[in-house]
């Protein structure tokens, strides 16, 4: 039997959960109080020991990222919350922000205190306009009650937060494109190095985290790193929010221990395949995660296990596809998305995503040849690793996996 975990979604179904009153009534901002009573480095150590890994997609250990910033404490440090949530099939951050905005704010406050940041930004995707309003209201409320502003809760720590709405570009979720956009420029990723920890917003050291990552911080500080670790069954521990969509009976948002199997999530949490159909394939971590076949779903949902079978936990957006789905059509949609969203800055990605889309369109139109399939695979192989940002990887891994695992479906569409 699966038990839903309640670290991040514990307030979601409580009436009026967005209000400061309900939040503090359920123990909110106590972790901040505790953090402020500890030395900054102790807070960092707790996060380090918890093993928390970034939930934005790349899974970089949060504690290690925070430690990189300690040497810059003498300078201006910015904290950015990445709420761009653009990965297709991903819809976890919005539930936290919509139903528990103070959880995110408390997480940001503790993070800022530990890393020496005095100004934070929440970069939220443009389409989430009503959520941006909820956040602004929560910030105002927190500020009115002394949780945000100068000398927070009587301490010497001061912190301010602004909400910045994006303008509808997927690549602006990439951290350096996000910074460019926040600075008022076109959202095009920067060359790295330097990384944001050394030179980020306005050239100052910057820490960027996903909404979900930051929202775990109050639990880790409040309950200790071990409590977080033991909330997971495998891998690096903790829980994960899975957004399950596609051909299931109960699509939605679910928080389960890291290490829950994909089968459990699909058949128990989400109630199995709609209409009693058979499962054909699953995308396990947002559209850029390579697709899995129906016989691969006993995998444990954690970073290591998914990497071992050539895919990734990514953003935890699970897209379930039943037997009637045409994988080439899914590939076509995926290719169209990436060709449209490429910022266009570097040659392999700009020209390559456009060519992949062209070739898949050709195959779907019944004009394709065996060579076209080879050319798509060639593009996927060599775009990867030659681009400015990880978009090039995100755009090619899923297409290559769809062709490799469902090649017969593509071949059936070829001319002659």
């Amino acid at each position: 039997m699966l038990y839903m975990s309640k670290i991040l979604l514990r307030n979601k179904d409580i009436p009026n959960s967005q209000s400061l009153e309900v939040y503090t009534g359920r123990g909110g901002y106590n972790a901040l109080r505790k953090a402020l009573s500890l030395p900054q480095d102790d807070v960092i150590s707790m996060v380090y020991e918890s093993g928390l890994r970034g939930r934005g997609g790349a899974g970089f250990p949060a504690g290690a990222k925070w430690r990189m910033l300690t040497k810059y404490r003498v300078k201006t440090v910015y904290l950015i919350c990445n709420a761009d949530e653009g990965e297709p099939g991903t819809f976890k951050d919005r539930f936290i922000m919509e139903f528990d905005p103070h959880l995110l704010l408390e997480g940001m406050l503790i993070t800022a205190y530990a890393t020496g940041a005095h100004h934070g930004f929440i970069y939220i995707r443009g389409e989430y306009d009503w959520i941006a309003k909820i956040l602004v209201k929560a910030i105002d409320e927190a500020q009115a009650h002394g949780f945000i502003g100068n000398n927070i809760l009587g301490s010497s720590f001061s912190f301010f937060v602004d909400v910045f709405r994006g303008a509808g570009s997927y690549v602006c979720g990439e951290e350096t494109a996000l910074i460019e956009s926040l600075e008022g420029k076109a959202g095009r990723p920067r060359l790295k190095p330097p990384f944001p920890a050394a030179s980020g917003l306005y050239g100052d050291p910057t820490l960027i985290h996903n909404v979900t990552t930051l929202s775990y911080i109050p639990f880790i500080i409040g309950n200790g790193p071990d409590a977080f670790k033991s909330a997971g069954k495998a891998g690096s521990g903790g829980t994960h929010i899975f957004g399950i969509s596609g051909h299931v009976n109960k699509p939605g948002i679910y928080e389960y221990p890291m290490g829950t199997t994909l089968r459990e999530l699909i058949y128990e949490a989400a109630g199995g395949i709609r209409g009693g159909k058979h499962l054909k394939a699953v995308v396990p971590g947002g559209m850029s995660a390579p697709i899995l076949k129906a016989d691969e779903i006993d995998v444990s949902m954690d970073y290591q296990a998914l990497n071992a079978i050539g895919t990734m936990l990514g953003s935890g957006g699970i897209v379930v596809l039943d037997e009637d789905t045409s994988i080439p059509m899914i590939a076509q949609k995926t290719a169209k998305f990436y060709a449209h969203e490429s910022c266009g800055q570097c040659a392999p990605c700009r020209e390559g995503t456009n060519m992949i889309k062209y070739l898949i369109d050709k195959i779907i139109a019944g004009e394709g040849t065996a060579k076209d399939i080879e050319q798509i695979l060639r593009l996927c192989r060599y775009i990867r690793g030659s681009t400015i940002c990880a978009f090039g990887i995100a755009a090619t891994l899923p297409i290559a996996a769809m062709i490799k695992k469902f090649r017969n479906e593509f071949e059936a569409l070829l001319r002659d």
Binding site: S169, A186, R188, L191, A339, H340, E341, S342, C343, G344, Q345, C346, A347, P348, R350, E351, G352, T353, N354, M355, Y358, L359, K362, Q375, R378, L379, R381, Y382, I383, R384, G385, S386, T387, I388
Partner: protein, 352 residues
């Protein structure tokens, strides 16, 4: 800076600390192809042709942007690298309209050169139709964005070298293209027609209008000279065919301009071959200008200066120096007014 040593393609090489891998390779005779990189616009990291593998670093690294480190082990020609470069160039050829045969840049085009060195006769990808209108609105420059490879050189040139801030990249993905101001035709934009962008464009996307059809790149003789327009003395490269100037570019390797020119120096060369050009002095005789020898003209001028000075004193004469003269000529002019005429009435046209 202190020298560091590294291995490139199994060769032990030395380079000054702070050099990029690209520079270290070049100094040691190892060729790494580039398109967006130019010594004057420096690394852009856009074309990704200069990728190399560095032991200990993941994926491919762009050698134009990564500093060489002591003890680094670099590979520049592995199969993965060559295949990546070929893919990029083939994609450029398929996604753009590169009709080399009639292109003005043929022979000096860097895309062509890279394709040649990689042995690409024809792209293995299908040609994707691109049909953007050619911008002919500027009196001197043709912009054919179908040939643009989005290298950013013109943008860096316009913003950081000429500092005219006209050009930028607009749009995104495969629609990304260079725009003038808010995507205006060049001739209606704030462009001052300095031509810096044209000179640095590696392809035929930006070309000189007046040079169209005049000569292939290899047919012209390249003649170094000094610009006659002002005292800065910019160094020019004249492209001459059959004793006619076909186009002018800035000489890149020397002071004072290192390749930059203004609109006059770059595009104002018509006077050289103009039938209206004055080739000998004119003297007004009986109310009509007549061609005379230099000797006659100078004698007449000297005689009149002496007469005026005698009748009205040296301060009745004023000298205005020409902005097109060199420092040396300006000095002699000053000397002439003060020592020969005997007046301090000497000034310069740029001040009067």
């Amino acid at each position: 800076m202190k020298n560091i040593s590294l291995h490139i393609d199994g060769k032990y090489v030395q380079t000054p600390g702070g050099s990029t891998i690209l520079a270290a390779a070049k100094q040691n005779g190892i060729h790494i192809p580039t398109l967006c990189y130019h010594p004057r616009t420096r690394q852009a990291g856009k074309c990704r042709l200069c990728v190399v593998e560095v032991k200990g670093l993941p994926g491919l690294q762009v050698s134009c942007s990564i500093q060489a480190q002591d003890g680094m082990v670099v590979l520049t020609h592995t199969e993965r690298i060559i295949e990546t470069r070929k893919m990029i160039v083939e994609l450029y050829l398929s996604n753009g309209k590169h009709n080399c045969m009639s292109c003005e840049a043929c022979g000096s085009c860097e895309l062509q050169a890279v394709a040649y060195h990689l042995g690409i006769e024809k792209s293995d990808f299908p040609a994707v139709d691109k049909d953007m209108p050619v911008d002919m609105s500027c009196p001197m420059i043709i912009r054919d964005m179908n040939k643009c490879i989005q290298c950013y050189r013109c943008i860096i040139a316009c913003n950081d070298i000429a500092v005219n801030e006209v050009l930028d990249m607009g749009y995104r993905g495969s629609k990304m293209t260079v725009v003038c101001d808010t995507d205006k035709p060049m001739g209606k934009s704030s462009c001052v027609v300095c031509g810096e962008c044209v000179q640095l464009c590696p392809t035929g996307a930006l070309t000189e209008k007046k040079a169209i059809g005049k000569a292939r790149h290899w047919e012209t003789e390249k003649v170094r000279t000094t610009c006659p327009y002002c005292g800065v003395g910019c160094q020019l490269q004249l492209h001459v065919k059959d004793n006619e100037i076909v186009k002018v570019t800035g000489a890149e390797d020397v002071e004072p301009n290192y390749g930059s020119l203004c609109i006059k120096g770059r595009f104002g060369y018509d006077f050289v071959h103009s039938p209206l050009r004055l080739k000998s002095p004119l003297l007004r005789k009986d109310g009509r200008l007549e061609e005379v020898s230099w000797e006659e003209a100078l004698n007449f001028t000297a005689k009149r200066f002496s007469e005026i000075k005698q009748a009205h004193g040296p301060d009745s004469i004023v000298g205005i120096g020409c902005a097109r003269s060199t420092n040396e000529s300006a000095y002699v002019m000053m000397k002439f007014m003060r020592a020969v005429i005997g007046t301090n009435n000497i000034d310069h046209c740029a001040r009067t």
